[in-house]
Symmetry: C2
Subunit: 337 residues, 2 copies
């Protein structure tokens, strides 16, 4: 059994977007396992921009507590049980867990943990992406709240991100026209070539309203928002009657030092009798197996392409997290340990 | 048959809140009725702040066209058919119609018109208020989108207004705790004494957050918003999980010369997995009879008190409209002609 752990600790609270020096590697001894505990090897770390919130001293929400300075950064991992003294876990099992950015985790299993199926699909890292919280966010959002109908226009922000890269493809499976928003011509081209989006909008366009209008000539029926912030005001001007707006993520806000201005045209929701839905995917844990079966089927049929932004080694976890805020990733970001 | 009409015409486009001099009375001859037309006597004019939008040259929405300068102001009336050359209407019938602010309306009945029941309830003006678009907005909003459950807290803005005065009472009938927001201590006292609200929040309080917290110690489950604007940001900070926000009106915005700032904390909808619903009551026309039966039953049982802010005569219509923006009304504003 290993007795030395390497962990990424929060060296400084990020000011705005995180930088590599906000994190540092520390070696720590691994205590002897006690009754009721499990020792896990963390195979993959998932990088999720939302965790930036809890790096602040006051995150402004109560979803998770603020991360302590000098302690391993809380995150989401794909882990395997190495040793178990806990009645509910056995050696060899694969878990998706809210563990820290570290090579091994010794825990009383009181954290947020879900099991992978007994015979997991390959590659395992998909359980952090398309078959994990991000892919399931795309699925639950579009299915439960989006109620996407054939022929509708579904607009997705951060369309190349972990959630957006799956959302656009699900929208097309549901028969909709999928339009993605990303920054820069290269990423926009990839949206169409790699992810099958019908059209792309460059977030850096000089006239974003005109760009949205060109890409969505029939208006927007469903907006799957992963970025929050000022973009929403532009999109609200383009919504159709009975539009559904899905508030999934707000990457534009997580690292903002001041609250970003809100949309001044929310009354569009009234005149268009439209709705806006916030949702937290991890509350749907009981439906994960069902949703994974559907998504897994689509992957097998070649209807979903799963791009991954993958780095290796614990030393690269901090950098991979910072990459999210530079938009350096295409698809789900993971680090293989 | 009358041959002289008196009408309130739009003398000037209001700058900000409307003032009396934006309107003037004109006498106009009434043309001879032609085949396919009806001539109506307008018994009551309904005053609805939302119509302020279409007094601008560009309302920013497409719900109704901008009102032409120098022409009778478009509004909502309770009218009786005096003479009919139209196969679908007969003399004596009562209508709720999108007619102008004038004593008589000669029309080919192509406008938005709904019929009162063959045996209307008394008083007739209720069909512009509690049994009209405003009361039905309260009913449909809380029933369809609010899905109010016993024990929940329902917060209502512009709580003494035409919609709010009914919404609070319906919330209580549904078993909720009703909290109203209005401006000034007098109005707040009336919310409790006349409308049966459980608690009131003074919009002019120095610390609105603390005032909301005091009035809603268990948080807000449903927010019925009739004012829009900056108040929403304060309320979003107090919402519970699975909260529903109903965007009915935006009286704070109708007369704003610049768009008001939007809420900077919309991400609360995500972390609280809450939703926001815009709705337009007149689209539910097919359900008006059903809803009127329910509301009428509650009035008969003494469970709904129906305050009315009533003025008399066409000369007072402009003033009654301006009163809405001064918050001078308590309950539904109508002018009896």
């Amino acid at each position: 059994m290993p007795d030395i752990n390497r962990a990424v600790v929060l060296a400084a609270r990020p000011q705005g977007a995180p930088v590599e020096s906000d994190f540092r590697i520390e070696q720590r001894p691994i205590a002897k396992i006690a009754q009721g505990q499990i020792l896990c090897r963390n195979l993959f770390v998932s990088l999720d921009a939302g965790f930036r919130n809890w790096m602040d001293e006051d995150s402004g929400d109560n979803v998770l507590p603020a991360m302590p300075l000098g302690e391993p950064v809380m995150g989401l991992t794909l882990s395997q049980v190495l040793d178990s003294r806990h009645p509910e876990y056995r050696e060899g099992e694969y878990l998706m867990a809210r563990f820290a950015w570290e090579e091994y985790t010794l825990t009383d299993a009181g954290d947020f943990i879900s099991r992978l199926p007994a015979e997991p699909r390959a590659p395992l890292s998909h359980y952090l992406g398309v078959l994990g919280d991000t892919g399931l966010s795309a699925y639950f959002g579009l299915t439960d709240h989006g109620r996407v109908q054939p022929g509708e226009t579904v607009l997705v922000s951060a369309a190349a991100g972990a959630v957006g890269s799956i959302a656009g493809q699900i929208a097309r499976i549901y028969g909709a026209r999928a339009v993605g928003i990303a920054s820069g011509a290269d990423k926009c081209a990839q949206l169409i070539d790699v992810l099958g989006y019908d059209a792309a909008v460059d977030r850096t366009a000089a006239d974003i309203d005109a760009a949205l209008q060109r890409a969505c000539p029939d208006g927007v029926d469903v907006y799957f928002d992963n970025v929050g912030g000022p973009l929403l005001e532009h999109v609200l001007d383009q919504i159709n009657e009975d539009a559904r707006i899905l508030l999934c993520g707000a990457v534009a806000s997580y690292s903002a030092t001041e609250p970003l201005p809100g949309p001044r045209n929310l009354f569009q929701l009234t005149t268009k009798h439209a709705s806006m839905h916030g949702f937290m995917t991890h509350l749907q844990l009981a439906r994960y197996d069902e949703a994974r079966a559907v998504l897994g089927g689509w992957i097998d049929e070649g209807r979903i392409n799963v791009p991954e932004h993958r780095l290796d080694g614990i030393d690269n976890v901090g950098r991979a997290f910072c990459d999210l805020f530079r938009g350096a990733n295409f698809g789900k970001s993971v680090v293989a340990l």
